[in-house]
Each structure stands twice: as structure tokens, then as C-alpha cells.
């Protein structure tokens, strides 16, 4: 069993003390001392306000924090939440913590939380990001209620975002997941979500934990498992989401655990996705999506330069991955100045599909394929910024929708590239 190897004796003892629960709130952390306290308070308030009769536990899976994050999680008093909400829980709200490794291991934190939820026979398991500075107590209700009361298996979030946040999500993860698996899930890689005990148990039993790509991108793999396993999936509008700052180094890591895992999922699910021709909407509770029009400072010239340099310098690598027509189109785009720069949706969709097919065939190291996509993503980011610079939130949504249609229209192109034994 997974639990036997995952849990330390101490953690197992803590779980036994907790006993069976209705709701598990998972909190994967690593050096989040600066942000975790408000998150814990919001979770506590959410449980007191919305689930006072349910047996609940907060489980912190820590990846070797050096700043005392686990102590903060366990030590944050519930008294303030009681005072604020004027509601007292009828059950004890436990907060327990385990260090699953000395350094963060992507996927292992989620596995630990799900295994604990499985062991405690939780009906619902909700995972919350420790750096969600905008989290509200209501988020818990919006995520858990569809699982707890309406028998959904996966509740994926929808956020109110700044208009240029989540560029990878809007330009690759959402359109591609939608075109491939036929379900319109806005956040296939979510940092906050809820799942049923049934899905948690089934997902744990999947053989993804020994595969680096799938384990690293366990969150997106969970969404894909829910879609391909015909589980009941819905989306719930949570509220404003702001992201912690990320640099270029994080971009490569983010591509690995999202795009890498998505590409990796295509291999085993080919019989299923190859027959899906169109996408279907998913039950959505609350708003479909909302965009904030806050200004953002981005060095467009720098983005264009990184794209052009990437296209020029990585030409020998692209020759192994891309078709000559796509490469020629990229080389033409690379000559454009910022004012006239455009990476059209059809070229971007073809680029992504050719990368996916090359990943499937392992034409070069799979990690190198993902890394080679980074400069091209920067080009697409620039194009997205320029296209949507002066437009309203509705127009951005229209543009994203149009990109999704382009991915869906070009799906036969992926199937062709997939079958091509070049």
C-alpha cells in the first residue's frame, strides 16, 4: 500500500488520533511562512462557517521548510476564527503536519495528502495553495459543497485574473486539454481544487507515481484522470487570484510540470482522445471567468529578443522537432519588429501539436523538447500581450475562445503528425 511507504510512524500516529473524517484540507508547503497564516485562518473560518458539523482535518505536507512553516500551520489558533465567525465547530478541528522529504518533490505532496484522505476515509479532499494571498473563507464552501452535497468528483477552480496572468494556461494548457480531451476545463492545472474520496482512491492506485513526468505534473494528471475516467467534473468560481512572482527559471520548471505532464498523458490515452472530435462545456457554478484590467509592466522588446534569439540559436534542435513549413513560419515571425509582431493562432497550434508528436516519438530527449518550447512560448506571450493590450475582458475571452477553436480545428493535424513515422 502507498501509505506504508509514504507515512512516517509519527504521521501515522497523528492520523490514527484524528480518526475518520468527512473533509480533508490539504496544504502542500515549502518555505511559505510569509503567506501561510492568512491561508490557514481562511481555511479555519471556512470550515467553521460552512461545515461546523463535519469532521475535518487540515493536513500539511511539507517539503523540508527551513522557515518554520509546519509550526505555523499546526500552531495557528482557531480562537480568532471563532471570534470572527461567531460560530463554534461541533467537532474538533485537527491540524497535523508531516515532512515528506528534505526537499520539495513535485507530486509527492499531493500523493501524501490524497493517501491521508484515503486512510481517513474522507468524503471530500480539498487542496489549497499556501501562497493564495486572496483566499476567502467562502472558497472552501465553493470547492467542497459540489463534492460533498452534489456528488461531483472533481471541482476545478475559476478565478478572476489580471488580464495578462496565466498566459500559459490560456494559450496552451486550456486550449490543448480542451481540444484533446473534449472538456472545457479552464484550469486543468489548478493550485486549489476539491476531489471526492472515490477519485482520490482511484487516482492513488494509478501507476503515475513511478513515472517522473506524470508524478511531477500530478495536478494536471488528476484533471486528465477525472476526464478520461468519466468522473463527474465541474468548475466553481472562487474569486480573485494573484500569483506569486516567478522568474525565467521558474518558467522552465512550470513548463516541465504542466506541458510535460500533458504531453506525457497523450501516450497512454491515445485510443480515447483520438476519437474525440469536439469539446463539451463543463457544469460551472458562478461566473465563467472574469478579467481585471490592471496595468502590467512587461518589457516587450526583451520578450521579442528572447524569441528571435531562441529561433535562431535553436534551429538545429527545431529541425528535429518541427516540420519545415512551421520552422519557416517561425523564422519569418522572428524577423518582425515589436510593433508588427504576431505569432498567429494557427501557427502556434501547429507548433504545439508538432512538439507533442515529437515528444511522443522521443525524437530527442523529452526534457529537451519541453525546454525548446520555452522561447516559442515567449513569442506567443508577446503576441498575446499585443493582441489584447487595449481590449476589454470580453474581447480577451473571445480571443481565447478563438484560439481554442483553432486547436480543435487542427486536431487532425496532430493525429497526422502522431501517425507520421518520420
Amino acid at each position: 500500500m502507498a501509505e506504508e511507504t509514504l507515512f512516517t510512524d509519527d504521521f501515522l500516529r497523528q492520523l490514527i488520533n484524528v480518526g475518520e473524517v468527512d473533509i480533508v484540507v490539504g496544504l502542500p508547503t515549502h518555505n511559505n511562512a510569509k503567506t501561510v497564516e492568512p491561508v490557514i485562518r481562511a481555511i479555519q473560518a471556512g470550515i467553521l462557517k460552512c461545515f461546523p458539523r463535519e469532521r475535518a482535518v487540515i493536513i500539511n505536507a511539507d517539503g523540508g521548510s527551513q522557515d518554520g512553516t509546519p509550526d505555523l500551520v499546526v500552531g495557528t489558533s482557531i480562537d480568532d476564527a471563532w471570534n470572527d465567525s461567531k460560530v463554534f465547530a461541533l467537532r474538533t478541528l485537527h491540524s497535523i503536519s508531516t515532512r515528506y522529504a528534505r526537499a520539495p518533490e513535485p507530486g509527492t505532496a499531493l500523493r501524501t495528502i490524497l493517501a491521508a484522505a484515503d486512510l481517513l476515509r474522507a468524503r471530500a479532499c480539498v487542496v489549497v495553495s499556501p501562497d493564495s494571498s486572496t483566499i476567502e473563507p467562502d472558497w472552501l464552501q465553493r470547492l467542497v459543497t459540489p463534492v460533498y452535497n452534489d456528488n461531483f468528483d472533481l471541482v476545478s477552480p475559476i478565478y478572476r485574473r489580471q488580464k495578462f496572468e496565466g498566459v500559459l494556461m490560456r494559450n496552451l494548457l486550456y486550449p490543448m486539454t480542451r481540444a484533446i480531451y473534449g472538456q472545457r476545463i479552464r484550469e486543468p492545472y489548478a493550485s486549489e481544487f476539491a476531489i471526492s474520496g472515490r477519485l482520490a482512491t482511484d487516482f492513488l492506485a494509478q501507476g503515475i507515481w513511478n513515472d517522473d513526468w506524470r508524478r511531477t505534473g500530478a495536478e494536471i494528471y488528476l484533471t486528465i484522470t477525472a476526464i478520461t475516467g468519466k468522473y463527474r467534473v465541474c468548475q466553481s468560481f472562487l474569486g480573485t487570484k494573484t500569483q506569486p512572482n516567478r522568474g525565467a527559471g521558474d518558467l522552465v520548471a512550470a513548463m516541465r510540470r504542466t506541458v510535460g505532464a500533458l504531453f506525457s498523458s497523450l501516450d497512454g490515452n491515445f485510443p480515447l482522445w483520438s476519437t474525440i472530435a469536439a469539446s463539451q462545456p463543463v457544469t460551472t457554478l458562478g461566473a465563467q471567468s472574469e478579467v481585471m484590467q490592471e496595468p502590467v509592466g512587461v518589457n516587450r522588446k526583451h520578450l521579442r529578443e528572447m524569441f528571435s534569439t531562441g529561433v535562431a540559436e535553436l534551429e538545429p534542435v527545431f529541425r528535429s522537432i518541427l516540420s519545415s513549413s512551421t520552422l519557416s513560419a517561425l523564422q519569418r515571425i522572428a524577423t518582425l519588429e515589436v510593433s508588427e509582431f504576431s505569432y498567429p493562432a494557427d501557427v502556434w497550434a501547429k507548433t504545439v501539436f508538432e512538439f507533442a508528436a515529437s515528444y511522443h516519438k522521443s525524437v530527442i530527449s523529452r526534457d529537451h523538447i519541453i525546454q525548446a518550447l520555452v522561447p516559442l512560448y515567449r513569442g506567443r506571450t508577446l503576441s498575446f500581450l499585443l493582441e489584447n493590450r487595449d481590449v476589454s475582458g470580453e474581447e480577451i475571452e473571445t480571443n481565447v475562445e478563438s484560439l481554442c477553436h483553432e486547436f480543435e480545428r487542427l486536431k487532425p493535424y496532430l493525429l497526422e503528425a502522431w501517425a507520421d513515422r518520420k
Binding site: 495578462f164 496572468e165 496565466g166 498566459v167 500559459l168 494556461m169 494548457l173 492545472y189 493550485s191 500569483q243 506569486p244 512572482n245 516567478r246 522568474g247 525565467a248 527559471g249 518558467l251 522552465v252 512550470a254 513548463m255 504542466t258 502590467v296 509592466g297 512587461v298 518589457n299 526583451h302 520578450l303 528572447m306 534569439t309 531562441g310 540559436e313 535553436l314 534542435v317 528535429s320 522521443s362 525524437v363 530527442i364 530527449s365 529537451h368 525546454q371 525548446a372 520555452v374 522561447p375 512560448y377 506571450t381
Partner: protein, 234 residues
Amino acid sequence: MRDIIIAELTQALQELVRGFAHYLPRLIVMLIIAFIGWVIACLLKLLVRSVLRLTRFSKLSENSGATHLLNQAALPSSTELLSRFVFWVAWVGFILLGVNVLGIVGLQEYIARFFLFLPRLFVALVILFFGLLAANFFARAALLAAVNANFRSSRLLSISIRIIISIFALSMVFEVLGVAEQTMLIAFGTAFGAVMLGLAIAFGIGGKDLAREFLEKRLMTRKKEEKEDELSPL
């Protein structure tokens, strides 16, 4: 006189016939060994070709850059080349075994040397292949990392890594083969040292302004630049 000549000729002819009769079975044995060797070599060639195709060796060869080198030299594919190599090594080995049966004095030593050389040749080929594979892999990894980190001379860095690993692999190959062992080691050591010294001098003296600019940019303006490009992908 005439009788003596005839007797001598008859004796010589008889000796020749005796000698031929003595060698004929050995010659036949040699031809049989050579023929059996040819059949076995053909079978080995087919077997190696099938195994290489099944294991998608051509892809590995393409990744290592060996296919590119072979194409440039107008040689057949790596799969074909390796299967032909196995064929010829096996057949020549059997022919030499056959020649050994003939019992020609002095030839046996060369034949023994040939068989002793075969494992070294095989090891050298393996080192060369994996050396090229490593050179290509690390050169590409460096290129990708450098481009994604916005390093200016990424192609130069990648080529340097490829050349250094290739030279290292070649020097190992020559050492294994025992060809100009000392010369190759000295040449490699000298070339490697010269490259490193040259780079150190170039960076330290020739590029001191560039180094200062680079360090200043890294230490002083990096934060600002990152701030400008902060766009969360997820």
C-alpha cells in the same frame, strides 16, 4: 643423363603431387570453414540488423549525431554500417581460422594478433559511439539552458562543449587502439590546456569590460529586469 633428368623430374613431380595431396584436404577444410563462416557472417548480419531495427538504433544514432557524420561522408546508415562491420569481422575471422589450418609458418602469429585486436576494436567503437552521444546530448542541453537563460554566446558554448567531449572521446579511442597513444595524450592535454588558458586570458584581459558589464548587469539591474518580465504563466 636423360634418365637422370627424367628421374629428377618424376621425383619433383611426385613430391609436388604428394605435397598437393598433403595440402588438398587442408585447403578443402579452409574453403569449407570460409564458406561456413560466410553463412554464419550473413546470419549474424541479418540478426544484428534486425536487433538494431527493433531497438531503434538509428534514432539513437541520429541523436548522437553519428548519422549526420555518416551522411556527410556519403556512407550508409549506422544500422547498415554496423551490420556490415559485424559481417566482415566474422567472415574475416573465419577465413583466418581456415588459413590457420593450412599451417603456414609465421602466419599464425599475425592471425593470433588479429583476434587479440578485435575486442579492443569493439571497445573503441563503443567508446566512440557513446562519446558522440554524450557530446551531442550535453551540447544540446547547454544550448537550451543558455538560450532560456538569455546567455549571449549560447551557440559558442554549445559547440565548445561538443568539441571538448568529442576530443576527449577520440583520445580515449586512440588510447584503446594503441595508435599513437603518447602523441594523442600529449596532443589532447596540450590542446585542452591551451583552450582553457586561452579562454581564461580572453575573459580576464580581452573581455574585462564585457565581464564588468556582465557582472554589473547580473548584480545590479537583474532585479529590475526580472520585475519587468514578470508574467505568471499559470
